[in-house]
């Protein structure tokens, strides 16, 4: 006489909202049997995705990415550092992922979200192993000065698929990045105010013009939920909380596999399921690539 059995009889007379709250798994399974999800998506469809570039004026590069209502704001600030002895002509990239208390009812001030360090680690692993950034481009004066790139990603609204949205915003922020004009003055790198550019000729220019990074293979990702025989692409936070087996596939723009995460979970995936996830990701990469291209070209017209 378990509760799930009782739900069978109750469901006919209960209100839909109450049923959804009391028997969430059953509610979802009923939808899945009809090959549809409660938000009217098909199982393999991702939510609407938008990118807007240059959202933060005080940063050197920034982007706002939205997947459904999951919102990520990524911004890059450039600072100067002395490169390490092992790699004197390389810069460095530091990636941080923050979940401030505004983003979800589960996060309270002083009690950081469990998910944040996991996503941060995945992000820096993915970006460094994809080879998107050539660290040699971040060198200023060989052995003396190089750029330290601080990328901070803030989750403004957490509604599932956090890693996908964070990676998308990070990639967009990098393609929006403009390396500032600086010159060498007394052993220190300084930024020249616009009006002084011509007068101060005694300062040795190091980076004469604002320039962009050349990005290598750009990584894109898709997170799927495995539940029984179903594969649900791009889950919402409600779906993530009910069905806990996640698979995240990261592919670069030429469809090469960058990384694949399946952090445990109740469902043990067959290789066929993993292959299906990769196939779904391949489609999604095409979509995301186009969305990113459109966001970049939209910036250039302005």
């Amino acid at each position: 006489m378990g509760l799930p059995n009782a739900s069978e009889d109750l469901s006919s007379e209960m209100e839909v909202d109450a049923f959804r709250r009391l028997f969430p798994l059953r509610y979802f399974e009923r939808h899945l049997a009809e090959s549809i999800r409660p938000d009217a998506r098909s199982l393999s469809r991702a939510r609407n995705t938008t990118i807007s570039m240059g959202a933060v004026a005080s940063a050197d590069g920034s982007a706002l990415a939205k997947i459904g209502s999951t919102t990520m704001l990524a911004a890059i600030k450039m600072e100067v550092m002395t490169p390490s002895l092992e790699s004197p002509d390389e810069g460095c990239v530091s990636i941080d992922f923050h979940m401030p208390p505004i983003c979800s009812p589960l996060v309270r001030p002083g009690r950081p979200a469990e998910a944040a360090p996991v996503v941060a680690k995945q992000l820096s692993d993915t970006i460094s192993s994809s080879g998107m950034i050539n660290l040699k481009e971040l060198s200023l004066v060989g052995g003396k000065a190089a750029w330290m790139v601080y990328l901070d990603i803030y989750c403004l609204d957490a509604d599932g698929a956090l890693f996908d949205a964070a990676l998308l915003s990070a990639v967009a922020a990098f393609s929006n990045l403009q390396i500032p004009t600086v010159s060498l003055d007394d052993g220190k790198i300084v930024m020249l105010p616009e009006e002084q550019k011509e007068e101060n000729s005694e300062k040795e220019p190091v980076n004469k013009e604002k320039r962009k990074l050349t990005l290598g293979g750009i990584p894109f990702s898709l997170t799927c939920i495995l539940h029984k025989n179903y594969i649900l692409a791009d889950p919402t936070s409600e779906e993530e909380s009910i069905m806990e087996t996640l698979v995240t596939v990261v592919l670069d723009s030429s469809n090469q596999l960058v990384s694949l995460y399946k952090p445990g979970g109740a469902v043990l995936a067959y290789t066929s399921a993993v292959q299906d996830c990769i196939a779904l990701t391949r489609q999604r990469v095409k979509e995301l690539h186009q969305i990113l291209e459109e966001a970049i070209s939209g910036m250039e017209i302005d």
């Binding site: 933060v56 600030k77 530091s94 936070s237």
Partner: protein, 260 residues
């Protein structure tokens, strides 16, 4: 390669190429007032255009985004929800406020943590306007994140928080609108930007409920003469009344959109 270096070593190892000394006070304020434009070419008594939008965060009970020039703020309201277990019984509701900055909010990275006092200031500015009796034994959480700091951050946070509270359906006596004024020599500059705040002689901030003509918070710092002070207060009150109208129209718009 792109490994995350430990924060202790990077804190001093890197520096920003922005020269902090370039912000000098315009010479005009030492003499009498002449025609001089502010950094964003406003008049001395002219506020930045204010923009509010509710429903910025879907997972919150209520939320608002505010943009005043370069100052951009998001406030989420959660609750009324269960108070922390350790809390004593209370027959009126509790208000819990937190203000934080993004690391890229300030021109030099990571300086936003200087504003630890803002959380309690926000709490005190809102406390008087909220009808705490309507949610006994529970807590309303007001969390603010300053996305970009462009000056007058606290007044923007307070106004934005009050719009978010209204969006969450928390009962209030009135909206709280807040405006600040900077004093530079003989001049009063309303709604100062970051640069003006850095060389001000004194500042005054008022948070008030415009339709009740009641002040919930008044802070004064620095050097003020009495006539100056009176003038500044009147300026702030007038500006808050106008700001209150903008906030109200934003809420009305959101409500009428919902009905359609």
């Amino acid at each position: 390669m792109a490994a995350k270096p430990s924060t202790t070593t990077t804190a001093k190892a890197t520096y920003s190429p922005i020269d902090p000394t370039r912000k000098t006070r315009p010479p005009i304020f030492s003499g009498s007032d002449v025609d001089w434009l502010r950094p964003d070419s406003r008049g001395f008594h002219q506020c930045r255009p204010a923009f509010f939008r509710t429903g910025a965060v879907n997972s919150a009970s209520g939320s608002a985004y505010a943009e005043f020039g370069n100052t951009k703020v998001i406030v989420s309201v959660f609750g009324p929800r269960e108070s922390k277990k350790a809390m004593m019984y209370s027959n009126i509701g509790r208000l819990n406020c937190n203000v934080s900055y993004t690391t890229f909010a300030t021109p030099i990275r990571g300086q936003g943590s200087d504003h630890k006092d803002f959380s309690s200031m926000l709490h005190k500015a809102l406390e008087g306007a909220i009808i705490l009796e309507t949610f006994p034994k529970t807590t309303v959480d007001v969390f603010a994140l300053v996305l970009e700091s462009g000056g007058s951050d606290l007044p923007v946070v307070i106004s934005c928080a009050s719009v978010a509270l209204a969006d969450a359906g928390i009962m209030m006596y009135d909206l709280v609108a807040s405006v600040s004024v900077s004093c530079l020599g003989k001049n009063l500059l309303i709604d100062p930007v970051l640069e003006e705040e850095s060389y001000q002689d004194g500042s005054l901030m008022i948070a008030c409920m415009p339709s009740r003509y009641e002040v919930t918070q008044l802070t004064v710092t620095g050097e003020w003469s009495t006539p100056h002070f009176n003038e500044a207060m009147q300026l702030c009150l007038d500006a808050s009344a106008k700001l209150g109208k903008i906030m109200r129209s934003c809420l009305k718009e959101a409500a009428s959109d919902e009905q359609e």
